[in-house]
Symmetry: C2
Subunit: 212 residues, 2 copies
């Protein structure tokens, strides 16, 4: 009996099922039993290929955390004028999340309820966040000194951007869970409307706006 051709092998089938369930339910609520069922394999197979639930989860987390960190990177492609750079950063970040809408909640859930599973990634997370912060502190400082933008605490500004972007993807689908009658379409609309709104919000925070 070999591998299980269709889904690219048993191991891949397990990984795929695990990823889907972990992203949807988080570490504690997604059981190995459910994962096996969804992958269409016997329960014992999970342990044959991965030894433990924690190890499967770690593989899933690894991949997805890497993706979330990557979503912050394009923010820092520099060269262009300040606002253009920042705007395209926010925009790229938002678009990235649009393609992985479950990402913010998955990482949040893990960070909050299973922080020990993130231990190994702490240095890399730290480093990424620090780098982003340093980059922006610098640029913001210069812009503020030349009077181009309002005075702001860089940490707070980063929190503005990050929490606005992330929470869009956390809250809107959750509202949909409690009120399914709102309809996918309407929720989609609200979500994609967020992007322009967030950019406008940050722009007027920095530059003011003249009642357009």
């Amino acid at each position: 009996m070999k591998n299980n051709e269709e889904n690219g092998g048993t191991e891949q089938a397990i990984m795929a099922a695990a990823e889907e369930l972990f992203l949807e339910k988080g570490y504690n609520r997604a059981t190995t039993t459910m994962i096996a069922a969804k992958a269409g394999v016997t329960h014992a197979m999970l342990h044959y290929y991965f030894r433990s639930k924690e190890q499967i989860f770690t593989k899933v987390l690894d991949k997805n955390l890497e993706e979330l960190l990557a979503s912050f990177r394009p923010v820092m492609k520099s060269g262009a004028p300040f606002w253009e750079t920042l705007e395209s950063g926010i925009s790229t970040h938002f678009d990235y999340l649009m393609k992985h809408p479950e990402l913010p909640n998955f990482i949040f859930e893990t960070a909050r309820y299973n922080p020990e599973l993130m231990e190994a990634y702490k240095p890399r997370i730290r480093e990424t966040l620090q780098r982003i912060l340093d980059f922006h502190i610098d640029v913001l400082q210069k812009e503020m000194e030349s009077g181009n933008i309002s005075r702001t605490d860089p940490v707070q500004l980063m929190l503005d951007i990050v929490t606005l972007n992330l929470s869009a993807f956390m809250f809107i689908p959750t509202v949909g869970k409690v009120f399914p009658e709102i309809g996918e379409d309407r929720l989609e609309q609200m979500l994609s409307g967020r992007k322009a709104e967030i950019i406008t919000l940050i722009k007027s925070r920095l530059y003011g706006n003249s009642h357009e």
Copy 2:
């Protein structure tokens, strides 16, 4: 053997323990075993007084959801000029959450992973949110027409305010769980810094600001 004088009776002790654990861990992760242990009573007592885990949870949810909905109400004490009203609304809402920092995450967690437990509350939630929205649509419309504020989609503006306020209380403590070395003080600072920042943000969104 009567009641268990100290903690105001066994029933109260169970409720208190249950509330603490449900708020911290959510419905699924807080087990009846843990609740009994924390309350210092035998496990059977939970079922003697409340019959089921679900019923204990419902009592906790009931109380806390009521509080969250109440946190939206003061936003609508009207009479004063538009911006004063809105600002005091945001501020009051933020202060309210400051006193119940676990509230946003608790309700979010329940809505996302146990929406069926919120069924009974849907009408009241709907109604509260609708009322707030209607109120603001009205006032915003007027202000926009007289050219006092920038053109905005009221739903998006409400999302701005609500997600900014709620996510402050969800993300900052969670960052603290992954990086305990940041320290309570620093986190407290970031959190209370949010309030002024959020108000400034919304104000400049509506009125612009002249680089102060």
